[in-house]
């Protein structure tokens, strides 16, 4: 089955040929061994396998894409770590910015963090400014933390479709020299018009969006919340850049 599913994802036509061929072989086998079979049975079988094949094709296509978004992003992380100090902080920022924008739905995440009530109160300029600053913050966080390599590796564990049709890709980060030897990462992906995009990340069960939500809302509910939030984030970015 492993070989077949590989073929399915790569070449639909090839699969049908393969199945047809298998069918013929099976058909002959049945005739030879039992000598009793009818064309009716054969065509029925053929129809149902076709349906199954189509279903498998659709399922695998969706699954693989969500998984690939995550594994590609992780290989960018490992790659950046391997390049380590040969890249400056600014270089790593550029590198990560591109990788993050391609794999994350930053805007969707930010809106959830802020919450619809607050978000609707923002002017377009405020939305734009916050999105820009927030993205820069995420990028800087990666650039700051993923700067040296000591044999870390990501291992894909599983993929799981939630009741609402979202996907969670689970993987484990192994840190051979760390105090904490492994961290489980759950990537929560939602589909938007561009395809599957990372919406939330949980490290050992700590959900990034949930944590940020509490923080951002606390700051936004204070005096001159919006400007305070921008100022705090900018300060954090400056600290990373130092």
């Amino acid at each position: 089955m492993g070989k077949q599913s590989l073929l399915i994802s790569n070449n639909t036509l090839g699969v049908f040929i393969l199945f047809a061929f298998n069918k013929i072989k099976l058909f002959c086998l049945i005739i030879i061994s039992f000598g009793i079979t009818t064309t009716v049975v054969a065509t029925e079988n053929n129809d149902s396998t076709t349906a199954i094949v189509e279903e498998v094709v659709v399922k695998e296509k969706e699954g693989i894409v969500a998984k690939v978004i995550v594994t590609d992003f992780q290989s960018v992380l490992i790659d950046a770590m391997k390049q380590g100090k040969t890249l400056s902080f600014e270089d790593r920022c550029l590198y990560f910015k591109d990788a993050i924008l391609k794999s994350h739905d930053v805007l969707k995440s930010l809106r959830t963090i802020v919450g619809s009530k607050e978000w609707r109160k923002f002017t377009d300029e405020q939305k734009a400014l916050l999105t820009e600053v927030f993205t820069r913050f995420i990028v800087s966080t990666y650039a700051f933390n993923f700067n040296e390599f000591s044999d870390e590796s990501f291992k894909y564990v599983s993929e799981h479709t939630t009741k609402k049709g979202n996907v969670v890709v689970r993987s484990i980060l192994y840190i051979p020299e760390g105090k904490r030897k492994k961290v489980t990462f759950d990537y929560a992906l939602k589909k938007n018009s561009d395809g599957w995009r990372i919406y939330n990340i949980a490290a050992d069960g700590v959900s990034d969006l949930a944590t940020r939500r509490s923080e951002y809302r606390r700051i936004l509910s204070g005096e001159d919340g919006f400007n305070a939030l921008i100022a705090i984030i900018n300060k954090k970015i400056d600290n990373y850049a130092k």
Partner: protein
């Protein structure tokens, strides 16, 4: 010590302060004030008290625990630190086994018993973690988790002096854990070493919070509570919709179609400000490494800037 969450120190001395604090808190439970005009978070009704304790712990950490732990890290070779960590982890193993069985995890209990026996003998009193090498992985169980499995509710979030984040369920949990840990009975010097080592081990996490958190108190509270929940469920992802479900998930943000607009305007904003875009172009052109490294860009419609 502060923010060592799962690496709580187990001194019986602190068990007494647990009780004292519970009494103290039950006294002020009628106060449901909104602090600084901010809504009271349901899980954190004692935020005022907790923030005071948080600042206190922070001070202790900054002026005492961190310098001492840094000195410890500096004078102690890495292999010794690892040995010390292994030693105390192994002593906790008895408690892990007890809680395995109390939670009905028979197989895991048997494994952890094997783990404790192997490390206590072949591992020279736990200095070496031989068990992990032979496939007996370390599990994280404690009495607060057992209480959760038994259906005891979490209760409000608490920041305890010197011990850091907890919940009301964590108080009997901590007392039981301390009682079931031989380190509690060995003597004060051993406990001091244990606390030092715990602080040193948590150094990376503490620094991460320092750097990443916009509000360290809130960040610590949220990550602590979620981390504990994850331990209780042993990291199962059956309720993975929780990663997506936030109150307003289905609510209208009023600008679903505006998304592109926002993205477009971003460019204007950054151009009006400092000319960040140009800086980036320069780096891109001058630095060949980056050009090679950069994956094929197909998201160039968003021109957010990473440098300023």
């Amino acid at each position: 010590m502060y923010m060592t969450s799962h690496k709580k120190s187990d001194s019986s001395l602190f068990a007494v302060s647990f009780v004292a604090i519970t009494l103290l808190l039950s006294g002020c439970s009628s106060k449901q004030l909104t602090e600084d005009g901010v809504e009271v978070v349901e899980v954190d009704p004692y935020e005022g008290f907790n923030r005071t304790m948080f600042d206190f712990n922070d001070g202790v950490d900054k002026y005492f625990a961190e310098p001492v732990s840094d000195a410890y890290t500096w004078v102690t070779p890495q292999f010794v630190q690892t040995g010390v960590t292994n030693f105390f982890d192994n002593l906790k193993g008895i408690n892990v086994v007890l809680n395995d069985f109390m939670q009905g995890k028979g197989k895991q209990g048997a494994e952890d018993t094997g783990r404790f026996l192997v490390n206590s003998t072949v591992g020279l009193l736990g200095l070496f973690d031989v068990a992990t090498e032979i496939g007996l992985e370390q599990h994280n169980e404690d009495f607060a988790q057992t209480l959760a499995v038994w259906g005891v509710s979490q209760g409000p979030y608490l920041v305890l002096p010197l011990l850091g984040p907890s919940t009301t369920r964590g108080i009997p949990g901590g007392i039981f854990d301390a009682a079931a840990n031989p380190a509690t009975y060995i003597g004060v010097p051993v406990q001091v070493v244990q606390m030092l080592n715990a602080r040193a081990s948590a150094d990376g996490e503490i620094n991460f919070i320092e750097e990443a958190a916009l509000d360290r108190y809130v960040f610590t509270r949220e990550s602590f509570l979620q981390y504990r929940d994850n331990l209780i469920s042993d990291g199962q992802i059956e309720d993975s919709d929780a990663l997506f479900d936030f109150e307003e998930e289905d609510e209208d943000f009023g600008d679903e179609e505006l998304a592109q607009d926002v993205v477009d305007k971003k460019t204007e904003v950054s151009e009006e400000g400092i000319t960040v875009v140009d800086e980036n172009k320069e780096i891109l052109i001058n630095d060949e490494v980056i050009e090679q490294v950069e994956p094929v860009a197909d998201s160039s419609d968003v021109t957010l800037d990473a440098t300023e």
